[in-house]
Symmetry: C2
Subunit: 355 residues, 2 copies
């Protein structure tokens, strides 16, 4: 399999074109194929390899089974200018989230801030890929997501899963590159746990509890019956912090959306919260950039602790990786192109040539 | 000293009356004395003993020195309905924050959500005391704060302080008691570090770095020259999560306020961000409560991990403590009434009698 060889690289535009063709062939209408494809590849460019093209086969399977809706628009549940709620009708989450950020950005320039909440979205992939659309316009943006059909994280002190990792991504404009934060309310993600388990690897720390509630670095405990749980951020030491963050994100997504765990939904999905804030409406765009730029510079100039080569800003490494990938091509995580090959054949879509 | 004896209790109303008289005697006008006093005592009732009446002597000192402004209103920097910015003129932060939550709650019922950002506030104390004013009305509320004149937390990987603990409190209505979350972007707070150091105690874990960047449980490293730093939430293992949260909170408070570290301010102060969200404008108040209530119940019913007696919701223990204190009286942390005694004498204010 060519993509498992060291150093095989692809032109990002070729990967986008390929994925666009796949999602169009799978029945997605309008700008959905191009939006989904570009955001999946963007995740790979930034180095989020569990949430890039690696997701495409599962998305295409859900389109085929009807668990992902291929066509149409979300239903508008409520719209009060700065506060919008959509029913996503299980449409592609990446497309819904991208559209939600655009709408929130537009409304924020009028109201100072605006929120779009989406219930019954399909999975939205890597949250960080939605940020630069807002930060490029000088706007601050928050995207958070939970999946009410899945539970892998226990409340702090417990050992039965109630919550999802509940990721939150934050884009902050500065006087230079934006700060692109991508964190979650649990120490690690479902996708990373699954990858490590399949590869027979361990977490770098005791990031999970087994079903009996004992801390471990073995991701296999998440796949026993009954299953163990991923620890909230802070772990056994101060996991009440991640627990609090998870409850916040579940309330912003499922609570405001009015659809969630109480409805025992099935199928891979997401509840989404988007908030865009326009600094112009507050203390001013220039002042905002002056403050965030000062703090960013102070972080970058920080003397590193032993064993650390340099202090970085969130997103700094990803943006550097993306710049390199745009000129030198992107190296996909092993197995991705292999998994796409039969789907490409099935839909009669040409497989991209490596560089 | 009577208040260092085990079991000495005070009637909360007596403590509020006492502190109100102190802040009035120190020159605060209007409803400031009563608001400050009630919120400080509320922190003690909830068990946040480092951020209750323990703060009063320092606040009174800053009023005397003029570092806290005693009288008047904040200046309105910007007001776009759902987005309001105040210059706090170093007025009492507790009073400003309480007023900001009231205004944001009022505006949120019109716009669906509303934000008040305050620059140049004085210290706002315990953030959790501002939540119930909003949650009692069915509103979700977030209060975050940073102090641009202070730095005790390093960016993840670094060893020189750039950030503050950057607390964030979140109030979430449910079908029963509200969830009252009180977390911060660092593992512990400045006040707790200071208390443990004075008492010759250690942190429960390696929550700090010494000036050379080595992890330690000794709070004394924060008071050396050069000083060590408090670790971000996640610690040496996954502190990029707390680092990201800190950058978010610094941007929401100082960035949007247009005043912060770039201005090298001096004096004990705060930059404040308040967001209130009305579920009525989204998926509906009943649906919101149904989702948050379901999740709350699932957390409370969770089987505890070994060594844990029961899984609790954030705020549950504090609300129980408050109910008990309202009937049985509140036991202050040792030393608080002793510290207030000379100020009471100076201002000619009667010291409350223990029960």
């Amino acid at each position: 399999m060519s993509d498992t060889r060291e150093g095989v690289r692809y032109r990002p535009a070729d990967l986008i074109q390929h994925a666009t063709a796949l999602f169009a062939a799978a029945g997605c209408d309008g700008d959905k194929p191009a939006t989904i494809a570009s955001r999946l590849v963007e995740a790979d460019l930034l180095g989020h390899t569990t949430h890039g093209l690696a997701l495409a086969p599962a998305y295409l399977r859900d389109l085929e089974s009807g668990s992902m809706t291929a066509r149409g628009e979300p239903d508008v549940v409520a719209d009060r200018g700065a506060a919008i709620t959509w029913d996503g009708r299980r449409l592609p989450g990446i497309w819904l989230a991208a559209k939600a950020v655009d709408l929130a950005a537009d409304r924020a320039t009028t109201h100072g801030l605006a929120t779009v909440v989406i219930r019954r979205s399909h999975h939205i992939g890597c949250l960080v890929v939605f940020l630069q659309r807002a930060t490029d316009g000088g706007l601050m943006v928050i995207v958070a997501s939970s999946d009410p059909a899945v539970a892998t994280v226990a409340p702090f002190g417990g050992r039965k899963a109630v919550l999802t990792p509940d990721p939150i991504a934050i884009g902050i404009p500065t006087d230079g590159d934006p700060i692109l934060i991508d964190i979650s309310a649990s120490i690690t993600t479902n996708a990373m746990s699954d990858r490590l388990r399949r590869e027979g690897k361990r977490f770098p720390g005791r990031w999970a509890l087994d079903a009996a509630g004992r801390a471990t670095d073995d991701p296999a405990v998440l796949f026993t019956n009954p299953p163990g749980t991923i620890l909230p951020t802070g772990g056994t030491d101060h996991g009440h912090k991640g627990y609090g963050l998870a409850l916040l994100i579940e309330a912003l997504t499922q609570g405001l959306g009015g659809f969630g765990r109480a409805d025992t939904p099935t199928g891979w999905g997401a509840s989404v919260f988007v908030l865009v804030i326009d600094p112009v409406a507050f203390g001013g765009a220039g002042e905002f950039r002056r403050q965030t730029g000062w703090t960013a510079a102070a972080c970058r100039a920080n003397p590193p602790a032993p064993g650390v080569d340099a202090v970085r800003l969130p997103g700094e490494r990803g943006l550097a990786r993306k710049r390199r990938a745009l000129t030198e091509g992107v190296e996909l995580y092993p197995g991705i192109m292999t998994a796409l090959a039969p789907l490409s054949a099935k839909f009669g879509v040409d497989v991209p040539e490596p560089l």
